[in-house]
């Protein structure tokens, strides 16, 4: 246990009264990251399950990895197609890395910086929740989003959607979606349209080159539109595989389903929310189809855009979702239904998932309240009957 010895040696420096005592929370975060602490139970149950929030969060991150990896490749692939580059697999991945790693650097440096600072000020332990938020955020933005915008959005979300409420576990809205909503409403030109979903298109439009020096040319008649704006442009199979334009991590149904499988297998995310959200989306999609609002069959609503990503990874956030079991069914169903309603009947917004989830985040406590009141009333009735 050599590392342990080193940690023990430097630990006093970071404790109260030590030279670097003001960095206590930071030290603690790294120490507990490496070692499960030696704290023993003081009150209540003498034994505790070995699961902790770190474990829950890391499972969540692992579940996102397929979408993350696919997003890296797809970023390169879309660029290659748009500019007729005929890249090899490795070239695509390299381009994807160049585009996506900076997004991650920005979200983690800004977000974790704020988290650590706040923990330090409050004298709390650093909460793991941001590991997931920071991992999701780059996956739900267009790949060409300017980094400074992403930084501002991240800071806004972490401070105003999370820390002002008291940190992870106290927030009302999903912080990653708040960041995206912030971008969406503050910088609409960078968050919607046909130009933004493929790396390099924006730059090409402005400067005539996609690359600093070499610069390719967009092939004639190319449209960077996502299936939401241009459903005829892509087959259902393409949407399922995910080699289409879109936000970084949302395009591949397969990658998302892999993540969903892990979440369901480990029980980290609620299957009730996922299932009811899909049901809600399908129902409204079907009604829209037979009612003439759209020519697309209902299942297209699931595989297009961010619907599935939102259902699997974002609507299921246990903090901001409904917490009662019946409430989860209602909440999930409304998320799915509202998302498709916005898509089909609101010409202003092509995608409705973000707003649907944020809206239902807002109403989740009311759903829970109603569910509890009803349960208590039913219980009282039953009791009075027995008595």
């Amino acid at each position: 246990m050599n590392v342990r010895n080193i940690v023990d040696k430097i630990k006093p420096t970071f404790e109260k009264g030590g030279k670097l005592g003001f960095l206590h929370s930071t030290f603690d975060a790294f120490e507990t990251f490496m070692f499960v602490p030696n704290t023993v139970t003081k009150k209540g149950s003498h034994l505790r399950d070995c699961v902790d929030i770190k474990r829950v969060m890391i499972i969540m991150v692992i579940a996102l990895v397929p979408a993350f990896l696919f997003g890296i490749w797809n970023t390169g692939y879309q660029h290659s197609v748009a500019f007729n580059m005929n890249w090899t697999f490795l070239q695509m991945v390299w381009y994807g890395l160049l585009k996506i790693v900076p997004l991650y650097l920005v979200t983690y440096i800004v977000g974790l910086g704020i988290e650590f600072t706040v923990a330090q000020i409050r004298g709390h332990e650093v909460n793991e929740g941001y590991l997931v938020t920071g991992f999701i955020l780059p996956l739900i933005v267009p790949v060409d989003v300017p980094l400074w915008m992403l930084a501002i959005a991240t800071a806004f979300a972490v401070i105003f959607a999370k820390e002002v409420f008291g940190g992870t576990g106290m927030n009302i809205w999903n912080p990653a979606l708040i960041a995206r909503a912030f971008l969406f409403f503050s910088y609409p030109s960078k968050m919607s349209g046909d130009q933004i979903w493929i790396g390099g298109l924006n730059r090409y439009a402005e400067q005539g080159t996609a690359w600093a020096t070499t610069g390719g040319h967009v092939i004639d008649g190319f449209s960077g539109a996502t299936p939401l704006a241009n459903p005829e442009g892509y087959s259902a199979l393409q949407m399922f595989l995910g080699n289409i334009p879109g936000a970084v991590g949302e395009t591949s149904v397969i990658a998302i389903l892999l993540g969903a499988a892990l979440l369901l297998f480990t029980g980290v995310a609620s299957w009730k929310i996922m299932l009811s959200s899909v049901a809600g989306g399908l129902l409204i999609g079907w009604l829209g189809h037979i009612g003439g609002a759209t020519e697309l069959p209902a299942y297209y609503q699931l595989i297009m855009g961010g619907f599935l990503f939102g259902s699997v990874f974002m609507a299921t956030d246990p903090v901001t979702a409904a917490q009662t079991e019946v409430g989860k069914w209602i909440y999930g169903f409304l998320v799915g239904a509202l998302a498709v309603i916005v898509r089909l009947w609101n010409p202003g917004y092509a995608e409705g998932m973000m707003l649907a989830i944020l809206l239902m985040n807002t109403f989740a406590p009311i759903i829970d309240h109603c569910v509890i009141e009803c349960t208590l009333k039913a219980k009282a009735r039953k009791y009075n009957k027995v008595a």
Binding site: R4, V36, T39, K42, D49, C50, G267
Partner: protein, 454 residues
């Protein structure tokens, strides 16, 4: 049984060190402690002083609030010390036992001829009254208020709990006497809940309302059983009592003696040759050193089970209501990257984020040497559905806990504070990934209720 209630929610924590079903030792008491802290909200009045001679059944303490509730000595001997803590709070009365035990004679009585008042008087006078636990709040029952019903659990599901069938073998007659006696104290009958999977030697008890339960822990908790038989509403008062205390009440009427000696399971991963001993409540941990050796500082001594028992320390003693001493290893060491390992074979988790639940199919009998490590840092409530999975009661545990934290009486009432004691939510605390001290929170809520509703 046809009307068996099967509870699907719950969890059996696979703790190693179950007691073998033999009585290896009849403990000759050394210094026995009577602790008012064994009872919730008790303000004790001291009735003896150092040097006094007491018999088995002599009053040592009384309840200051209702002074006919007496606490009597489980041994005959001499009061050696009155231990006080901060602000002179009475912590314990120590009694050094004589070699030969002498009993106060309460007189053999035929319970069929006694009325409710006579039964009450006999129990109060002998010191067996504190065996009645009142719900709500888990305080000693108030003799002035007749309960709606009396509930008894005839089996235990807590980790390594003493087996009721073994521990009370041959006591059926005494328990029958006790049931007859206490049935006079309530209109609602004596409800006894049996394990639906075991043919109990007590199944033939007369004058009871029998219920049958199956399921994992906490199916054996009387609070869980009451909730599933008939929930406690505002204004209701019910009493609970354990089987071993019924046996003691039976002995009081059948032999005229106060005899609370019982079979106590000495168990847990740190117990050497876990087994049963015959002992009286209040016996000191020092008297059972042969079961844990010389490593006392690395051991947590728990009176009761590992989930809801009390940490009594190496100097401690068995609590009045308990029949189990659990010896656990203090988990004060570091585990490198514990939370990040794909598997942790030496730890147990009911969470599917580890894969023990699959190992459970391969090796269903595997037991774990669990220690007292917290396995993580305390966080806010994050995961919402973990408590519900281990709590077979129709209450809202998270909302109840939040109401307790806020001290909101209306909400506590609504979410079920009258129905629970800490032990019922111990499993919620065990599984909580945020490491929240649910039992302490519930205790705080109950204290608030006692103070505000008095």
């Amino acid at each position: 049984m046809s009307n068996n209630i099967n509870l699907r929610k719950g969890l059996n924590v696979p703790l190693a060190g179950a007691a073998v079903q033999t009585v290896k030792k009849v403990l000759k008491p050394g210094v026995v402690a009577i602790r008012p802290t064994d009872f919730r909200n008790l303000t004790p009045k001291l009735l003896v002083k150092e040097g006094d001679k007491v018999l088995v059944g002599s009053p040592v303490l009384a309840d200051k609030m209702s002074q006919n509730i007496l606490f009597t000595s489980p041994v005959s001997g001499v009061v050696t010390e009155v231990v006080r803590g901060e602000k002179r709070k009475l912590l314990a009365v120590l009694i050094k036992a004589d070699d030969v035990q002498e009993y106060v004679d309460f007189g053999v009585r035929n319970v069929d001829e006694l009325d409710a008042e006579a039964v009450k008087a006999a129990l109060l006078e002998s010191g067996l009254w504190p065996a009645f636990v009142q719900r709500p709040y888990g305080v000693i029952a108030n003799p002035e208020v007749a309960p709606k019903a009396i509930y008894v659990s005839a089996f235990a599901t807590a980790p390594l709990a003493a087996d009721v069938e073994f521990a009370l073998k041959g006591e059926a007659e005494n328990i029958q006497t006790a049931v007859k006696a206490i049935a006079k104290l309530t209109e609602g009958g004596v409800h006894v809940s049996f394990n639906g999977k075991v043919k109990s030697q007590f199944a033939g008890l007369e004058g009871i309302v029998a219920h049958s339960f199956t399921g994992k822990h906490p199916a054996g908790n009387v609070g869980v059983q009451i909730n599933n038989i008939k929930p406690i509403n505002k204004g209701d008062v019910v009493w609970t009592i354990s089987m071993q205390m019924l046996a003691a009440i039976g002995k009081l009427f059948n032999t005229g003696r106060y005899d609370v000696s019982r079979k106590v399971a000495i168990c847990g991963p740190m117990a050497i040759n876990p087994c049963y001993i015959q002992a009286v409540p209040g016996f000191s941990m020092k008297d059972i050193q042969e079961f844990y050796g010389n490593a006392a500082e690395e051991i947590r001594f728990v009176s009761g089970d590992a989930l809801s028992g009390a940490n009594i320390g190496a100097e401690g003693s068995l609590r009045f209501q308990d029949n189990q001493i659990t010896l656990l290893q203090e988990g004060n060491d570091y585990e490198a990257f514990g939370w990040a390992k794909p598997f942790r074979f030496n730890q147990f988790s009911s969470s599917h984020t580890y894969f023990h639940w699959m190992l459970g199919w391969l090796t269903p009998e595997k037991k774990y040497d669990l220690d007292t490590n917290l396995h993580g840092g305390e966080r806010a409530f994050v995961v919402s559905d973990v408590y519900g999975k281990v709590l077979p009661m129709s209450i809202f545990p998270i909302y109840l806990a939040k109401a307790c934290l806020a001290g909101d009486i209306d909400k506590m009432e609504k979410f079920g504070i009258y129905e629970v004691l800490e032990e019922d939510l111990a499993l919620c605390e065990y599984v909580c990934p945020s490491k929240i001290d649910i039992q302490a929170i519930i205790a705080k809520g109950i204290d608030t209720m006692i103070k505000e509703m008095a």
